[in-house]
């Protein structure tokens, strides 16, 4: 305890408001004992001190007047309270307090004297602060004061212990107070500080305008040596700020404005705002400093995130955003999640800040991605998915113009009507002009005051944001591209996905979502990139893949999505993607790659395809059928569903179901089927027959076998225009093993004609075969064995018997010793008797 006190700077202002300090008997004793030192009390210039105390040093006169009035009232009330307590001598608090009371304001004087004296003794600069705190204390509302007074002896005791602590700091006679130090435990001071924090917080929340100064006190508590207290301080400040920060941005008055004469209220308001702002700034600075300390990181990040979430419109938000973005890819799960959620909420609740922060955040993320060379956690890009762009805004130019034109027309019409109906006089005209002028002014003012920036502004912001977003996406794509070219062969394992491109996944997702907002000029580049990425694993596969099959499949999917989002307005050849898919199907590995992605690819590229290229369709049909012969039921099912879809759409492809040599009339340029071809158009699949279906009808999974037989009979019912609603993804999910319920009904009530096999069937069993080998048993041998067994048993029995006999004899022998002893004793006794 003593140590702590030494560490504490001597000029630290007391953490307990003077209001709560009660002087105990011990203190009194102390003062009496050291009368020499206490002599200054009597010698003090009470007048000047009173002046200092009762007056707020820095405030203007008119403000002071109000304060004086208030204080007087309060003091009276306080006095009343204490007088009440004086009547009850049992309460020590009152007793102690009454001691120095001589004058009207006696009790306060005494206390301020004690505390004010300390700084005056040490450093003169302390005085002002004391006054400040004093003022804060004085401003406490009645209700709170009462609540405090109600707190019983226990707290009083604690406070008295605080007091000596303060005294000790400055008192040179430490040795005398050694015992006192010991009494003060860390826990108690912790408790006190906690209570103090709570009180301050409550006071601030109850009446922020008058208690705004308390913020500084709370801030100071955050400098405490105790981690818990610091955390508590930060968090309670957070909740206070969250509550009292106004719904607008504070602009500090300029010099000019300060010079202007303003009313009391305005002054008060200005004071309040400036104090709040400076406290907030100090708080943020504190947070920024502590954010680097790992001990406080969680609490600090939580504070920052909550603040940004709650008051994104307020001053200094830039620094908040900066911190949050910096932590967006943190390795700490909790911090990352907090930051990502905050960013997401920023994006989704743009109304709170008018969209300005969104742009800033995205820009920051873009810079961050650049700085980290795309090696970040996927979450940090994933947040961009929650961005929303007002599409009307983007295209608003034209409609705006239209509107204007229409408005003009309307106005014109109106005017023409007016003109036709009324002949406007000059006076009227001028009046009208004035009116419209006024209206315009008001509108401008309103606009400036309100948070909604005008359309142009918003458009500008949005386009900036968009460009930042696409910058991120393209950077990721570019990075991936670059990393493919110089490939290190350190790719390990087929089972786990390489983490070389953590951002690629969310990047592709984002591209799919926002591609329609992109400039058409870039679209070609984008498709080019995607194509290259999708092809990346293709030829140089032997040296280890850079992109996994799933990622490449996703590239294909995204390309198709981009195309579809742009309503196929683009004139890009998607043929390459089909080639990729055609080959990727074979590279798919059930355990390693995600089946869902494959199913999605099948759905996007084959089921939703609007082109009717028979060659291609036939090639895919054949490949899917072959594929389903080799993989697990879920994949097979997805493939078969797609196959069926293709067959339904491409009626001519049903020649595959018929054994028509040479592909009949529709055979393409390739006369013979090439199963290993890598280009669907070169495979000559139309010449083949779907024999796979026969094997698939024997598939163990009933769903697949029924589907297969259904497909093989399709040509029998050609007019059926029924399109199954089952998508490949759905089919995959239904049959995946994770979904397998394994619940089966035992159909025990089946025909029992086969139920029992006679013993004839049993005889030819493995057991008999074994027995034949072993040959029959010889009875004599058994007899011999039996007699051996007997001998053994007898031996054991005999041994047992002999042992017990032996034991008994030994014991009898040992008894002999006892006997001898007894005899001796008897003899001795006899001798004794005789």
């Amino acid at each position: 305890m003593g140590k702590q006190k030494i560490i504490l700077p001597p000029d630290l202002p007391p953490e307990v408001s003077e209001e709560e300090i009660q002087v105990s008997d011990e203190d009194l004793q102390f003062v009496n004992d050291n009368l020499d030192y206490a002599g200054f009390v009597s010698r003090l210039d009470t007048h000047s001190i009173t002046k200092h105390v009762t007056r707020v040093a820095d405030l203007k006169e008119d403000a002071l007047e109000a304060l004086y009035e208030k204080r007087l009232k309060k003091k009276k009330a306080l006095q009343k309270d204490e007088e009440e307590e004086e009547e009850q001598p049992g309460i020590r608090v009152g007793h102690v307090d009454t001691l120095p009371v001589k004058t009207l304001d006696g009790q306060l004087y005494y206390r301020t004297l004690l505390n004010a004296s300390k700084p005056s003794e040490g450093e003169g600069e302390g005085e002002e602060r004391t006054n400040e705190t004093d003022k804060g204390v004085v401003k406490l509302t009645k209700a709170e004061r009462r609540a405090k007074l109600k707190k019983s002896k226990k707290e009083a005791k604690k406070q008295t212990k605080e007091l000596p602590q303060d005294e000790v700091k400055d008192n040179p006679q430490r040795a005398v107070l050694a015992e006192l130090k010991e009494d003060v435990t860390a826990e108690e001071s912790f408790e006190t500080k906690k209570c103090k924090l709570a009180e301050l917080g409550i006071a601030l929340l109850a009446d922020p305008e008058s208690n705004i100064k308390l913020l500084k006190e709370m801030l100071q508590m955050c400098n405490d040596g105790n981690h818990a207290i610091v955390k508590l301080g930060l968090l309670s400040l957070l909740s206070v700020f969250k509550d009292i920060i106004p719904g607008y941005r504070i602009r500090l008055p300029t010099e000019k404005e300060l010079e202007m004469k303003v009313s009391k209220d305005v002054k008060k308001m200005r004071y309040y705002e400036s104090t709040l702002l400076s406290a907030y700034k100090a708080y943020l600075q504190k947070l920024m400093v502590l954010e680097k300390v790992s001990l406080y990181q969680h609490a600090v990040v939580r504070c920052i995130c909550t603040l940004l979430d709650a008051v994104p419109h307020f001053n200094y938000r830039e620094s908040l955003v900066e911190v949050v973005v910096r932590n967006i890819s943190s390795s700490d799960e909790v911090i990352r999640k907090l930051c990502c959620d905050t960013i997401k909420s920023l994006f989704t609740n743009e109304g709170k800040h008018g969209g300005e922060v969104t742009g800033a955040a995205v820009r920051l993320i873009a810079n961050y991605v650049k700085a980290h060379n795309c090696q970040m956690h996927p979450d940090s890009i994933q947040v961009l998915m929650s961005l929303s762009f007002d599409e009307d805004l983007g295209r608003s130019e034209a409609p705006d113009k239209d509107k204007k034109v229409r408005n003009k027309k309307y106005k014109k019409g109106n005017r023409s009507e007016e003109s036709s109906h009324l002949q406007p006089t000059d006076r009227k005209k001028s009046r009208q002009e004035m009116m419209s002028k006024m209206r315009d002014e008001v509108a401008a003012d309103y606009k400036a005051a309100s948070f909604t920036p005008d359309i142009m502004e918003r458009r500008r912001m949005q386009s900036e944001t968009l460009s930042a977003v696409f910058e991120i996406y393209f950077r990721v794509l570019k990075h991936t591209m670059q990393s493919i070219v110089p490939r290190p062969s350190g790719d390990t394992g087929t089972t786990h996905v390489t983490e070389a491109h953590p951002l690629l996944g969310p990047c592709l997702d984002g591209l799919a979502k926002f591609s329609h907002l992109m400039d058409l000029d870039y679209m070609g580049d984008l498709m080019d990139y995607l194509k290259k990425l999708a092809c990346s694993g293709g030829k140089t596969d032997s040296s280890g893949k850079c992109l996994t099959v799933s990622e490449r499949l996703r590239c294909c999917i995204i390309a198709f999505k981009v195309m579809r989002n742009n309503l196929d307005a683009l004139n890009v050849d998607l043929q390459d993607f089909f080639v990729q898919l055609y080959n990727l199907i074979l590279e798919y590995r059930p355990g390693r790659d995600q089946g869902e992605v494959l199913a999605e690819a099948l759905k996007m590229m084959l089921c939703n395809d609007r082109q009717h290229d028979m060659q291609k369709a036939a090639a895919f049909i054949k490949r899917l059928a072959t594929f389903s012969l080799c993989f697990e039921s879920a994949e097979s099912m997805a493939a078969l569903v797609t196959l069926k879809h293709l067959l339904l759409k491409n009626v001519k492809c049903r020649v595959l179901l018929e054994n028509d040599p040479g592909g009949g009339s529709v055979s393409g340029s390739v006369a013979k089927y090439q199963p290993y071809a890598s280009d669907p158009n070169q495979s000559g699949a139309l010449a083949s027959v779907l024999w796979e279906l026969n094997l698939l009808t024997k598939h163990y999974h009933p769903t697949i076998s029924t589907l297969a037989s259904g497909i093989s009979n399709m040509s029998a019912a050609p007019t059926q225009a029924y399109l199954s609603t089952l998508t490949p993804q759905q089919a995959f999910r239904d049959l995946s093993l994770e979904r397998e319920s394994f619940s089966l009904k035992s159909n025990a009530a089946k025909s029992s004609n086969k139920r029992k096999r006679g013993s004839e069937g049993v005889t030819a069993s493995s057991v008999d075969r074994v027995l034949e080998k072993a040959g029959s048993l010889d009875e004599d041998e058994v007899k011999k064995k039996l007699s051996e067994h007997y001998t053994l048993l007898r031996g054991v029995k005999e041994n047992e018997r002999l042992r017990s006999e032996l034991d008994r004899t030994t014991r009898a022998l040992s008894l002999y010793d006892d006997y001898k002893k007894q005899k001796k004793q008897k003899r001795r006794r006899k001798n004794h008797v005789s």
Binding site: T492, L629, C630, E738, S766, R808, A812, L813
Partner: protein, 681 residues
């Protein structure tokens, strides 16, 4: 003395007090259980067993931690209990009792064989003689001591008695006679060779019941010989067996002839009788006279089975007992005991003994049917599960035998056994499901064990051997999904043995049931295992066949690579062979061929390249063959019947090159396996 008799082992334990204490504790517990159990009806018993299988497992499902495949194991050992220990099979005989002129000393040194035990006995004897002499001397010297000894006699005896009884199994219960005293009892009878011969003759030729009775008493004494129940309840005579010849004669004679004699007494034919025959007789006077005799015989034989450890004797007695299994119809409790003993022997015994024991179980299940079949099935299953937790190299064949015999037992009543199989499979599926969905560590560990694997193995075998006789489709589907799930769950190269097993099961099922199960991707995955840098040096010897999971260091060894390539080729071959005549073979082979080629291009090891190349060539040959044949036909895929008949003639002739190749591969792997298993034996 390669194998110590049970008695001898017990004796050895005698001088180890802690063991004994433990034994006593278990004994007393056991007794309590038995007595509680006694009140229950035998029938109830069976029902309980039946419920056992179905209900006992279901609650376990909730908590994976508790699902253990052998949880059903313990619990019913209590019916071994001395259910009706009333008379212990002693038969009251007044005639033909031979007074024994006892002479202890004659035993000593009578046998020529010098065993370790007899040597020890002699030593102890000489010591005893010495000490006795000393004692006698003391007694002579000091008559006072003699008196003192008499006074303190209690102490001497008490101590020794205490020791004796602490050694005793509580079987002798309240009986406080010491051996010495019982020896002195007047009722002691000595059995000599001549008496036995006379009795035997009388019993067989004259069918004298009283002779049979005394024979049975002798037999009983022989069976109990050496066991701890030295003291018999009052009123029974104590037989003493003269020498080893008498002992072996009486046992052999009874075991051989008893069945015949009982059948004569009851007047039933030697073969072809059912339990109803016995049950019908229950009220006849014949039965009433024969019943106690029969009971005594059966009980004594069962006792003997429990006591003896020598496999030859066990086999002999089991085979003889098997002939009179029908006699157990009157004594359900004894039948329970028989089942328990034989299942124990089946699970633990050596090859011959095990198979003989199984024959007994099978006969019981066959003759008694219904409930008894259930009991047999459940007990064998439990024993199997309990026994296959660990796999030693030598146990491989034994486990296989156990599996086959359970399958055989199951085949006797497919309806019942398939419902049991379903329950068991559902249990497996539950574990698997939780492992798949939550990656529950405990469940994963449970799956990756021999117990789980053997359990799957058992049902795979069951399904594949019975699929043609009974509708096992739901079972088949479930088991395939379970195997697929296991293969899906363990992808890493460390689980190669388990994966190979899975593919083998799938191949087996596909082959036996004529259904298509896609395996190609599983098998080629094995080829593509990447384990980083391969050391190239041959790894430490490691028995591949007895582990589910490979040790890490092994993954980098050359052996692992070899194993991967050879097993992949083998599994693919099996898969292809099965469909080699199917019309879609070319398509079936397409994807695996692509992957094989890729492997062929990338691998640098010449041996692997050669092996894979050979496979590729063979498969391609067959592809061309099928394709050529296929081009000739005129039917379409929808014409299932024509497809079925496609190439059937060629298949039956069976001399295609692929078939030969397949056989050579299989032969090679078999010899390889033999080699490795020899190495680790």
């Amino acid at each position: 003395m390669a194998k110590l008799g049970k008695k001898a082992r017990k004796f050895a334990k005698k001088n180890l007090q802690s063991v004994l204490r433990h034994k006593r504790k278990t004994n007393s517990m056991f007794k309590k259980k038995a007595s509680k159990r006694k009140q229950q009806d035998a029938v109830e018993d069976h029902e309980g067993d039946k419920l056992d299988l179905s209900s006992e497992r279901k609650p376990e499902v909730q908590d994976i931690g508790d699902i253990s495949l052998d949880a059903l194991l313990g619990g019913d050992c209590s019916d071994l209990g001395e259910d009706d220990s009333d008379s212990d099979g002693y038969l009251e005989v007044s005639t033909n009792a031979f007074e024994a002129d006892m002479d202890d000393k004659t035993y000593l040194g009578e046998d020529g064989d010098v065993t370790a035990l007899s040597v020890q006995n002699k030593d102890i004897d000489s010591e005893l003689v010495e000490k006795k002499k000393k004692l006698d001397k003391l007694k002579e010297k000091d008559p006072g001591f003699c008196k003192f000894l008499e006074n303190n006699d209690e102490r001497v005896h008490q101590l020794s008695d205490e020791e004796m009884f602490s050694d005793d199994e509580e079987a002798s219960g309240n009986d406080t006679q010491t051996v010495g005293e019982s020896l002195n009892s007047s009722k002691l009878k000595l059995i000599t060779a001549s008496t036995i011969n006379v009795l035997c003759q009388e019993a067989t030729e004259l069918q004298n019941v009283s002779a049979l009775t005394s024979l049975l008493n002798c037999y009983r004494a022989a069976c109990h010989y050496g066991s701890e129940s030295s003291g018999f309840p009052d009123g029974t005579a104590v037989y003493k067996i003269q020498n080893k010849e008498v002992y072996s004669t009486i046992l052999a004679f009874m075991l051989c002839e008893a069945d015949k004699m009982f059948r004569n007494l009851l007047g039933i034919s030697c073969s072809n009788c059912k339990k109803e025959t016995i049950l019908d007789m229950k009220n006849t006077s014949k039965w009433k006279t024969t019943k106690p005799l029969m009971k005594s015989y059966l009980r004594s034989t069962l006792f003997l089975l429990n006591q003896v450890t020598d496999s030859k004797i066990l086999v002999f007695s089991l085979t003889q007992l098997r002939a009179s299994i029908i006699c157990f119809a009157g004594f359900p409790s004894l039948l329970h005991r028989l089942i328990k003993i034989s299942i124990h022997l089946w699970a633990t015994g050596d090859e011959t003994l095990s198979s003989h024991a199984f024959l007994v179980v099978r006969d019981v299940a066959f003759l008694y049917g219904n409930d008894w079949f259930d009991i047999c099935l459940i007990r064998t299953y439990k024993a199997f599960i309990g026994h296959c937790k660990f796999l030693e190299p030598g146990m491989f064949n034994h486990i296989k035998f156990l599996r086959n015999s359970i399958v055989e037992l199951c085949s006797m009543d497919l309806q019942k056994s398939s419902s049991k199989a379903l329950v068991s499979l559902q249990q497996l599926a539950k574990i698997l499901q939780s492992a798949l969905q939550t990656k529950n560590k405990e469940a994963v560990k449970k799956i990756c064990s021999w117990q789980f694997a053997n359990c799957i193995d058992l049902w795979v075998e069951f399904v594949s051997s019975n699929i043609h006789d009974y509708d096992l489709q739901p079972l088949l589907y479930t088991i395939i999904q379970i195997v697929n799930g296991v293969a899906h769950l363990f992808l890493g190269p460390r689980y190669l043995p388990l994966r190979i097993k899975c593919i083998q099961w799938l191949n087996h099922l596909s082959c036996c049931c004529g259904i298509f199960i896609p395996v190609g991707s599983f098998a080629t995955d094995i080829l593509e295992y990447k384990v980083g840098k391969v050391g190239g040096k041959p790894g430490k010897d490691f028995n591949f066949s007895t582990s589910v999971r490979l040790p890490k260091h092994w993954l980098k060894s050359q052996n692992f690579q070899e194993q991967c390539v050879s097993s992949a080729i083998e599994l693919l071959c099996t898969h292809f062979d099965h469909w080699s005549y199917h019309i879609s073979f070319p398509e079936l082979a397409t994807v695996p061929l692509i992957r094989l080629r890729k492997f062929y291009e990338t691998t640098t090891n010449e041996v692997f390249r050669r092996l894979v190349k050979r496979l590729i060539d063979q498969v391609e040959l067959n592809v061309d063959f099928v394709r050529k044949k296929r081009d000739e036909v005129a039917f379409s895929p929808k014409d299932q019947q024509s497809v079925e008949s496609f190439l059937q003639c060629e298949k039956s002739s069976g001399n295609a090159s692929f078939k030969q190749y397949y056989e050579s591969i299989i032969q090679k792997s078999v010899s390889q396996n033999l080699f490795t298993s020899e190495k680790f034996r």
